[in-house]
Point group: C2
């Protein structure tokens, strides 16, 4: 119940609404050399997923009437002074303030209060790191509302202060996070390696294995590995630098075979250094291992070695973040085969609702020859798992970077209704 | 049905019966630099388990009447020409032949045929490497029957040709396998670091997790790791050499805290390099991981850091070979507490027979205060697993090296009865 008077009190204000995508790394980030500035111990590289399917959306409204900054995540107000969040906000305001000091004509937005509302369209149950898309969206929206004269890589540094891997969600396609070497983190930022249109047709399947909360969060886990794993040092110094070069080459050449080999090797190695930690960290469970076995068998069926000794014919690559869920990357022509095999070996339970369980994957599955899939799986000696071993299947693709949905108040786009805002004043 | 005549035909013969123990490494052997001579990529160190509980027993009978060599394993005749077996036999005969050439008075045993019968008293289901105790017993028995003038480390080289880790079963107590550097393997042998009486009271619990055959055998698995793991190189060059020194020091000082730390770290790292292989090798399953969590929690309860920064108060160490079964090492005073906790968290199913399931562990458990154990586990937030998650529990201790059970035909000790032998001629 908002009176017209209250509405009219908001005389001066500015609002933007943006969305930003999720990213899933193929060369993993694991370990910080500076935990305050979120500077990593190695570079990493990820693929940006399509925000038509998975996204964070954020509205920021700035107004001189707002006496304090406030934030709502998925409709629930959260602490605006949470350390990483406040680092991001104060840095963004500082950049705005510098601009205002140089140009007296600019509105003093840095002195206004801001209200932030952010939503993720994917359930926490999907096991996706909402902090990456969330902080990417927040910083992108801040750069828009403050008209910051910085490029996207510079925005990515701001996002990095909120969540390391968030910096990679500032671009679409194939994105690397250069670890940088400077103590102040000014060279630790994201760069687009290739856009989603440079290498089109890259599909992703997310196999959600478990809703269970993980034992070891990634922030805590990666520092345990830094402190206790003797193998991590070798990974950081020797393995990752070469893999980054090899992966960039694979992407430039649209060489799926090399892409798949490096992706799977790096996922394995990330989980290996977790296991080499003390106490050991396990993110893969028996279902995750079964998925690895299936993908290995499926690839083995089509792989051959060419005269130069290179393995060719990979159909699909797996990668696992700090949890049991699998992300599979493949080119479009193999999507229905891979999905068919996964669906056959990890069948849905009748109590799992078709719409929620499959999402867009349902359409792809309609064209799968199930008899043939069964024959292929049986021929590979792969056994069916109990129904309900997966929680859901998300089918998406590689997509673009953050989008501006509106640069002024727009009742369609805004997550902060005039009513909400007025109520809070 | 054997006629007295046939018995009398065995005019000249020689027989020995020996037993040899199992060993479980605390610094793991994983990778060969020479697959023919079974030369390892790194040194390793193990504890020899008590052969009163777990052993291989072997009878060798040599006779000029035997027209060919033959072997029976657990009562079933096996191929005497299997490569590793035949390598061991021909090398032993060669050593005997050299002695015969130097001393004309010696019986020409190297020209006689030999019959070998070998039994393991532990079921394959125990998941213990029977090849280690088996080849240790075979070579020890060969050295006895041929009166080879070589020391036990030299016998261990012979055992190594049959199964790498067998060389460590030639000694009791704490045994290292020096990897050596020579191409012919003449310096790759076992040495006793300390006897079972130098550091008495070391107990072992084997938690048998699964009867299922493993996907990847260790011979095959370790070479996959050598070929594909980028982390293994670092383990071999940097980590293991230091750990060998640290572990020998821990044993010399009877420092269980350091012993436990290194043992668990090295088990973790061995499984980490397996995971870093392509395709990744998994030996630990969800039950193995649960055991690790329990041991970590149990230790955390008593660990404190002394003024020098060293962690003290470890009660028990886990180690896992190439399979899901846990081996726990602890000093005698903690056996009942550890066993009580394990038994409470991984309860027996009523269909698992008490005698088979617990063996000697039954007596220890009779003195456990079950109410207190339940309180401790609940306090640590550890949940009970479904009944029957373990297959059996084997309680044993660190023990002595190979034993000669008889040096002539002895109907009590012999695994080859006169009847059996006569029948085969």
């Amino acid at each position: 119940m908002t009176s017209p008077n209250k509405k009219q009190r908001i005389t001066k204000s500015k609002e933007v609404t943006c969305s930003a995508p999720v990213n899933i790394a193929v060369i993993k980030y694991w370990g910080k050399r500076n935990t305050a500035l979120l500077l990593p111990t190695n570079s990493s590289l990820s693929l940006t997923l399509n925000q038509d399917d998975l996204r964070s959306t954020t509205t920021i409204r700035a107004s001189p009437d707002f006496v304090s900054d406030r934030i709502w995540l998925n409709g629930k107000e959260e602490n605006i002074n949470a350390k990483r969040l406040s680092n991001v906000l104060s840095k963004a305001k500082e950049l705005r303030k510098e601009m205002e000091e140089k140009d007296a004509d600019l509105e003093k937005l840095s002195e206004w209060g801001i209200y932030i509302a952010s939503y993720n369209n994917f359930p926490t149950a999907a096991g996706l790191a909402s902090s990456a898309s969330g902080f990417a969206c927040l910083t992108f929206a801040l750069s828009q509302i403050y008209d910051l004269s910085i490029n996207l890589s510079q925005v990515s540094m701001l996002a990095r202060l909120g969540s390391g891997s968030a910096c990679r969600s500032l671009f679409g396609g194939f994105v690397k996070w250069e670890m940088g070497t400077k103590d102040d983190g000014s060279d630790s930022l994201a760069i687009q390696v290739a856009s989603e249109t440079d290498w089109p047709g890259m599909e992703a399947l997310i196999l959600v294995v478990s809703d269970a909360r993980k034992d070891t969060g990634s922030t805590e886990g990666m520092q345990l590995t830094v402190e206790t794993s003797e193998l991590l040092k070798h990974r950081i110094e020797k393995v990752v630098p070469q893999r980054m070069l090899d992966m960039e080459k694979a992407i430039a050449e649209k060489d799926f075979d090399s892409f798949a080999e490096i992706t799977m090797a790096d996922s394995n190695q990330f989980h290996a250094v977790c296991l080499d930690s003390y106490p050991p960290i396990f993110y893969l469970n028996d279902i995750s291992k079964a998925v690895i076995k299936v993908i290995t068998a499926l690839n083995a069926r089509s792989i051959h070695t060419d005269p130069s000794g290179k393995k060719k014919g990979y159909k699909v690559a797996y990668t696992f973040d700090a949890g049991p869920n699998a992300v599979l990357y493949m080119q479009r022509e193999h999507l229905s085969e891979v999905l068919g095999v996964i669906d056959y070996l990890f069948p849905r339970k009748s109590t799992q609702k078709v719409g929620e369980y499959y999402g867009k994957a349902k359409e792809v599955l309609e064209n799968v020859d199930k008899t043939n899939v069964a024959k292929v799986c049986d021929g590979l000696g792969l056994k069916q798992w109990p129904k309900g071993s997966l929680t859901r299947i998300i089918s998406t693709s590689v997509g673009d970077g953050p989008r501006v949905l509106s640069k002024e108040y727009d009742s369609e786009a805004s997550l902060l209704t005039i009513d909400d805002v007025a109520k809070q004043i």
